[in-house]
């Protein structure tokens, strides 16, 4: 019997988009501190898979469990451990960077100041600027900041490198490393797996 405690597990998972079956019989397990990279061409089902792993879409077949509990049966406090960032950052364009970050922090019950976080992300200069006036890269950074303040344990990131410059990408890689080191789990869909690859990474090829 294995002594490893798996946090995220997929069993015989099948994922469809519309009528098209994209993924069949996908089995994997992730323990704390482990990273999975989802790679594949456009349209292969990376986003659909992440949405199923987040519990935002139901699988066609099979099941996904978090801490051994099926996603649709998770208690609210367990569900709040799941963090997902898709193609959209979930930011309100009429709010400033600070207001967006504070909203997500309050929503997940983590209040406080976020000066250090904004400094790490080079957002200090634009912290009082409305998101509609930010560049695509700055929006991406703000989106990542809202993920960080949520205190989530599982990060499901869909193409997180998009629109990030070299500094932003290296910062993200560092954050991911720190998150995994702190016992977090991450599943990242990416076209640039080499930048995030580390020992023990699970590759899911679609």
């Amino acid at each position: 019997m294995s002594s490893v405690e798996y946090l995220l597990a997929s069993r015989s998972l099948a994922v469809t988009r519309g009528e098209v079956r994209l993924i069949n019989e996908l089995d994997f397990e992730l323990a704390q501190g482990q990273l999975a990279l989802v790679v594949g061409p456009n349209g292969s089902g990376k986003t659909s898979l992440l949405r199923v792993l987040a519990g935002l879409s139901a699988p066609a077949l099979g099941q996904v469990t978090w801490r051994g509990v099926e996603l649709h049966r998770l208690a609210p406090e367990q569900r709040s451990e799941l963090g997902y960032r898709g193609h959209f950052d979930g930011l309100k364009k009429d709010f400033t960077v600070t207001e967006n970050i504070e909203f997500y922090a309050r929503l997940s019950g983590h209040q406080g100041r976020h000066d250090q976080l904004m400094s790490d992300l080079s957002l200090t200069e634009v912290k009082d600027r409305q998101v509609r006036f930010l560049s695509a890269g700055q929006r991406r950074r703000t989106g990542l900041a809202t993920l960080k303040v949520g205190g989530t344990r599982l990060w499901l990131l869909d193409e997180p490198m998009t629109n990030l410059d070299a500094d932003g990408r290296s910062l993200l890689a560092g954050w991911l490393e720190a998150h995994l080191h702190d016992g977090g789990v991450a599943v990242v869909a990416t076209h640039q797996p080499d930048e995030l690859l580390r020992s023990g990474t699970l590759m899911i090829e679609l």
């Binding site: 935002l56 569900r79 963090g83 979930g90 930011l91 009429d94 709010f95 929503l107 997940s108 019950g109």
Partner: protein, 221 residues
């Protein structure tokens, strides 16, 4: 409760940053109701006879206009996905959004009604009853439209379909609301229709957010 307040505050703050969007349904209400006395004969008795009905239908359509995009902005910018993953139950999120929208669109409508109703020469006692009836009817209206908005959230042109879905369900509100206003204009007791509107409000606010949350979940899969 904290989640409810956080989302309510956010939506109120957002609404006040887009005042023009708030004003559109109210302007629609004022313009539509002002056109009737111009198009009909200025006969006092005729205006009094049609006044309650016109005001109620205009209020209904204005609410539909205000609420059809209740969830769309959050879906389009990815906020809805984040809200759905938060520890706050989806039905509470829906209730908070409906409440915020009711405060910024329903309450001003109720405040406008006694003023607009003057152009129909409705007696003073009918104005206050109409405002009270709208106070009881608009929460039900908001909940019904939110269910329609949730069901059509993934459709690009959901507005017209919401009307088809929701307007037939609004007929009890129209019947009881217009009846209460008519009874008040004739100086008769208005408690009956107001109680019924109150009962509908309690029923819809208790169960409607659950239905809208289920519809939203299906619509976004």
């Amino acid at each position: 409760m904290t989640g409810f307040i956080v989302i309510l505050e956010r939506d109120l703050k957002l609404a006040f940053r887009r005042v023009s969007e708030l004003a559109n349904p109210l302007l629609f209400f004022v313009i539509v109701t002002s056109l009737f006395p111009l198009a009909l004969s200025p006969d006092r008795l005729l205006l009094q006879a049609v006044g309650a009905g016109v005001l109620w239908v205009a209020a209904l359509l204005s609410s539909l206009l205000a609420l059809e995009g209740l969830f769309r902005a959050d879906v389009e910018d990815g906020s809805m996905e984040q809200l759905m993953l938060s520890p706050v139950p989806l039905s509470i999120i829906v209730l908070a959004k409906i409440t915020a929208h009711w405060i910024v669109s329903g309450v001003p409508l109720i405040a406008l009604v006694p003023v607009v109703a003057l152009s129909f020469e409705l007696p003073a006692q009918a104005l206050w009853v109409m405002a009270a009836a709208l106070l009881l009817a608009t929460p039900t209206l908001s909940v019904l439209v939110s269910i329609g908005a949730a069901l059509t959230v993934s459709l690009k042109s959901g507005g017209s379909i919401i009307g088809l879905l929701v307007l037939p369900l609004c007929s009890p509100l129209l019947i009881f609301g217009a009846r209460a206003t008519d009874l008040a204009a004739q100086g008769e007791a208005v408690a009956g229709p107001l109680y019924l509107l109150g009962a509908l409000a309690v029923f819809s606010v208790s169960l409607g957010p659950l239905a809208a949350a289920a519809a939203l979940k299906v619509g976004l899969e």
